[in-house]
Subunit: 531 residues, 2 copies
Amino acid sequence: MGEDRRSFWGWGLESKALDGARKNNLKAMVSMQLGRIETAEIVPPKIEEIELRKPRIAPPESLKTIFDSSPFERAGHSYGKSFRDVVRGLARNFSNPPDLVAFPRSEADISQVMDWCGSKNYALMIYGGGSTVAAGVEPPAGNWPGCVSLDLRYLDKILEIDSRSRAARIQGGIYGPALEAGLKESGLTLRHFPQSFEFSTLGGWIATRSGGHFATNRTHIEDFVESVRMITPAGAVESRRLPASGAGPQVERFVAGSEGTLGVITEAWVRLQERPRYRAGTSIKFPDYSEAVAAVRDLAQSDLFPTNCRLLDPTEAMVSGTAIGKDAILLVAFESADHSPEAAMKRALDICRAHGGKFPDDAATVRSGGDREGAAGNWRRTFLEGPYLRDALACLGMVIETFETAVTWDKFDAFHAGILEAVRGALGKVCGKGIVSCRFTHAYPDGVAPYYTVIGPGRAGSQLSQWNEIKAAASEAILRFGGTITHHHSVGRDHRPWYDRERPELFAKALLAAKQAVDPKGILNPGVLVG
Amino acid sequence: MGEDRRSFWGWGLESKALDGARKNNLKAMVSMQLGRIETAEIVPPKIEEIELRKPRIAPPESLKTIFDSSPFERAGHSYGKSFRDVVRGLARNFSNPPDLVAFPRSEADISQVMDWCGSKNYALMIYGGGSTVAAGVEPPAGNWPGCVSLDLRYLDKILEIDSRSRAARIQGGIYGPALEAGLKESGLTLRHFPQSFEFSTLGGWIATRSGGHFATNRTHIEDFVESVRMITPAGAVESRRLPASGAGPQVERFVAGSEGTLGVITEAWVRLQERPRYRAGTSIKFPDYSEAVAAVRDLAQSDLFPTNCRLLDPTEAMVSGTAIGKDAILLVAFESADHSPEAAMKRALDICRAHGGKFPDDAATVRSGGDREGAAGNWRRTFLEGPYLRDALACLGMVIETFETAVTWDKFDAFHAGILEAVRGALGKVCGKGIVSCRFTHAYPDGVAPYYTVIGPGRAGSQLSQWNEIKAAASEAILRFGGTITHHHSVGRDHRPWYDRERPELFAKALLAAKQAVDPKGILNPGVLVG
């Protein structure tokens, strides 16, 4: 086993999974919060232990070189990376693997795979980077004669950089770190850092309307897409590179969010920024959560456009190690490549002070260049380590769910109370106890995107049914209190029941008709989003 | 004739058309630029002169009260407000009027009109406010047994204001001034001021992806749409009110730009702002146009987000009365309800100075409250009077075209040169001489939206064929040099040939399939956008 091999059952690299010592620390921490852990620790599977159904299909001779039917790849492409996926992996349950994994190296490869699957009526799952937490990539249940998973990791090139317009043409299969590394020399950056950054792709971000780095103003990836190129079973769709247009419904906005049901995003021109030269940032303590919420609303409506405006409720602040106590913590930061954000930061601090926020005397200090430091930096590292931690918690037998949504400000108070009540109720019922925490990931003039983390003790063998109940309770409450079933995690299959209720019925019909125009045999991602 | 009656052949109110004295001034001004005007002045038509085809259809008894078949309304709903429309009106050519004009007062009225038209196979043109300059509202040619025009002026209510989220639920048929007046008491404003502001509707803005007041950052109307409600022949589509979502392709972005081909936008929740309390603005002279362009690019990439960033080329500056000479004029302004934009304005002036821009010593002065003044104010008044002036020029026998586009910065220099060459070539050929001027309406980090105005002397009876050649030359050049066929004027029928080439073919197929799902009989706006 190579040091840097991807985990076939959990997040990221095998080498970065928590080791024994860190797991013990985690266990001690969790025990402090939730009491003694009763269940035995689950030992992660080795690939040799996994019994996979034999491939039902064989690749055509002409395409043989791009297919892999090894147990490691087939098991690794059986699931995405949700809690449910990890628990099934830990249970050695890989009952519906793809028969083959395709690693195309060109659009021609993709078209040929589509043609072949279409001619044989095989389901084709667009795996992208495979980081979905909404069951977006697993083979469909039902009577498919075969299923192929399409891994796009080799479409990983930056093809062109236009420094004058600050944009680049980039292949859809590139991972976050390679994308940023490839831009570095030009002084440009996409600055799109979802939690999946290290193992998700540009095409996947676009296909799922990924939410990014910026807490305010333009932040969803589609705000940064100039044009797309998508391969569908019916041919290529390529839009014209434009800063804006008013010509009909926007092509890019139709592709964005299509979750692999219309085609494979092989390329996009994306809008970039210069790397920031000035930074100001601080963390602000609020003894009163509702005042902190009001401060975020005022900041979001101020048009100051802070880069970060992340409110951690007291539980979240404690769990993330940002603070200990009953304070809510608001991380506020500004960054700019052009000008000192001092005036903006000072005004933001005035707003926070008016709501009872407390911050250091030097909070408005602007730093030039250099890397992020302090509370924000700690938070960031924890952020990217989160999924490894989640896997370790799953091994400890815990039940963990994270879900996110967005809701307008007028509804937030009732919404938040309703979510907490519903989720705590479900936690109490299925786990006996547990923790629910909330942070704001993005703030808009008209609303906010809260992100909830739920942790409860699991019972051996029941982690999934416990999770199901919590997930359903949370999703029901989201719909009932006026939120959206996903702000940036995508719909996949997990959110389908609630998405179908959120989505206008006639829009579903229109979308299905559009899909049939480009995927007439319905082979792409069956069960995801439509159909 | 009432003082405030709408013109049935030209822009706006009859009472506001240029009177004799102002027309003479205009004539003198034009003669100064283009030499003596050879053609006789065209006298605008009176409705009594117009011979209209008899209505081919009669409304059903149950709907009688919402229909109007008077010559005034039928003639007035025969065309939109483009130069081509005005010239046809001046020529007393109303050869294909709608048979009936419907003035629904409710969604139920709209559904009933749709049902009736569907059952009889009558074309239903969604007139909205009728301000299209792209032939978006005229009855289709071809063998339709009947045609109804749907005027939405009575769907003009503000239904709900949510001050906390700064949003309002507003009916689709409301005109700009009524919308702003209705919001005023709440201290909120949509601040969407297209040139058609006085005679266009919220629903029309959304249906055409109208470009608005803000020169940078969020400015297209769809950036401000939280949710929509649309009546289609297959039923209602209503999206959930949300600040953002990642759940599938965005419903609102599918409706935005649909130009009445999918349904009638009866309501929308739109995002509002507080009325600005602080303003800073100035006009900056640039002796060198390409330096001025570079300054706009730097401003657009600075993330300072000026509210106004409108570059007038020397011709445009002269024609609009903003300046006399060879300088390009850049209008830069900031406004805010929250904070003094002094730091931003100073930085913007630094950027302009670095490109050779000259401005008054007090250019960075921030004013509190009050109305806009100075060069920007003059420019604004001229802006809203523009269409009346255009009509007067048409009466003087001139050929006038305005077209707008957007293009990425890397292409701008070649694009602009190419447009000027193509349009001047066509002007020379068909008019002998003429003027082409350019202003930037919107600036983006990755490109710019240039707006061109073309004026040439017409020949009696040939204004339309001359216009056609100029329009075609401009549109061809736009496509050839990498622009979009429309940044904010919509596609309608006039831009169809070039839109069809700009739009990916498979997207056209998908769009048509989606249309058929909601408008199975294809009665809505035939010939516009799709089908």
